[in-house]
Symmetry: D3
Subunit: 116 residues, 6 copies
């Protein structure tokens, strides 16, 4: 797929640019990434699946491409990745429902009676 190749090329170019700038901020981010995604109490594979779910919610295509690839390298099956994506689908609705609770409270205050 052309889009995937483009993402990979763009990532390489931008990272190269940041190294060329000798960006200390980029160096600290790279260190942060390294210490996050390594086996710990959770195996790296599970961490990558968490990252896949977050990438979908964040709509970060470059992150999806990266963390799905990493999850596959770590042995994740197609069905396991699908289920991480499905959790992200469900979680998309979570904040809306939670935020909506306050709307219900405002309505309750304004209508001060049992629902129609």
């Amino acid at each position: 797929m052309k889009k995937i190749e483009q993402l990979i090329r763009q990532r390489k170019w931008a990272n190269g640019k940041l190294i060329q700038y000798n960006s200390q901020v980029f160096k600290a981010i790279s260190e942060l990434e390294k210490v996050t995604f390594r086996d710990g109490a959770l195996p790296k594979k599970v961490k990558e699946l968490i990252a896949v779910g977050i990438s979908v919610v964040n709509n970060c295509e470059s992150c999806m491409q990266w963390h799905i690839s990493e999850a596959v390298k770590d042995g994740a099956t197609e069905r396991e990745i699908l289920e991480a994506v499905e959790v992200a689908f469900e979680m998309g609705i979570g904040p809306a429902v939670v935020n909506g609770r306050f709307a219900l409270e405002v309505m309750d205050e304004l209508f001060k009676k049992s629902p129609e």
Copy 2:
């Protein structure tokens, strides 16, 4: 409800402060608000219901409080407001599902076979 009163008091205080600062930006925002929420091709009530839906998705409690109150003043019923909130619930999931399409493409590329 105490939270609602607090929101209203905080809004009044902050708006008063911005007027005290003689903020031209705040003045332009007030003008923007005024020209947006008036009867047009859509009646103000429908615009307020659109704003209720957006407030839930944005998790802006002060906006929910304001636009639900305005919608009620414009004649919206409890059930109509509920349905605007329900659209927001459903729309919470929309971007996650749309974003997830790219995850499916990456998976398709990596597994290059029919689903397990």
Copy 3:
């Protein structure tokens, strides 16, 4: 427009893929969509206009394409859709202004005097 066609094609492909996976999560999402967008206290057209406003705020192009098309099928005029989009423009600023209230409180605490 090529982009619109691409969105439609990508949506069909991804939905087909999720059906092929026999995703129960996708089935539940489809049911959710169906029960949300039907005539109720609010006509479907108004619900679609609420969804158009939310799509703009969410920057969900696929959602914009879908809900604008549905609104048009339900009889929405160009001017009505424009006004739903305008509400979304205005609401973009809402959360920033509301969030900024806390910044004003922090400033008030730190400067503890009338504005300069």
Copy 4:
């Protein structure tokens, strides 16, 4: 903790209200939640950990409270939950870095020379 109890009470109240309204949208959301969080290719515990990570990124406190509790019921240890939270920390920076790539491209275009 008082805040946690409040969240739980608010969730119960709001869900009760939605049932009282006989909201078909809420019913479909409940079904969606049920089919998402059950053992599949991934055990429910891993799905809950993915949801914990997403809750942090989404700043959904009610979701954090729920999914951390569920993860603990499913046997997750404190350290495992911490690592899910740590992935969310790292992923917070992901989109900013990815978005920033375009800023680098614009700079490249404008300065059309090697970095200073």
Copy 5:
């Protein structure tokens, strides 16, 4: 770069369309923009750099293109723009870390003991 030219062309087309619609909302937004980005206590250049940082966090490519160009016109150097982008990188992580504090509180409640 083709993408930058496309953004500029799309912006011109959309603005032209909104003027053609005689959108009062668009007029108010233009006024808002004008009063915001002018020399004040902060020089316009610094305001443009703040806008660059926000554009990266918001993933608004059209905004990045515009505000970087404006900053350059106002005399910003490549290194100054880079540092505004770097602040945005760092700030991407801020909300995740702050949100995660509540996750730590929930964990504290559930494990009610010193960390493992």
Copy 6:
């Protein structure tokens, strides 16, 4: 103000907890913060003002409290902070307007005629 004190206390508690966990991820984040907010091509004060603007857009109250305080320590005046907040107000509307451009394209396609 009680809320500000609470934020500060919560931040201290959470940071202490993360240190107690010996979180390597938290250490990397602290390093990242340190290298970002120091004098460079831009003085630290300007970086703090950029961070104030981003905090408002991100609705990160703890970040607002921190970066406004830091900006004041670095010599920022009340009016300078206000103007950073005003830029954030204006930028709230930016993405909505940019996202809305696609809505205009879809409308253009569907109505294929000059505006009503």
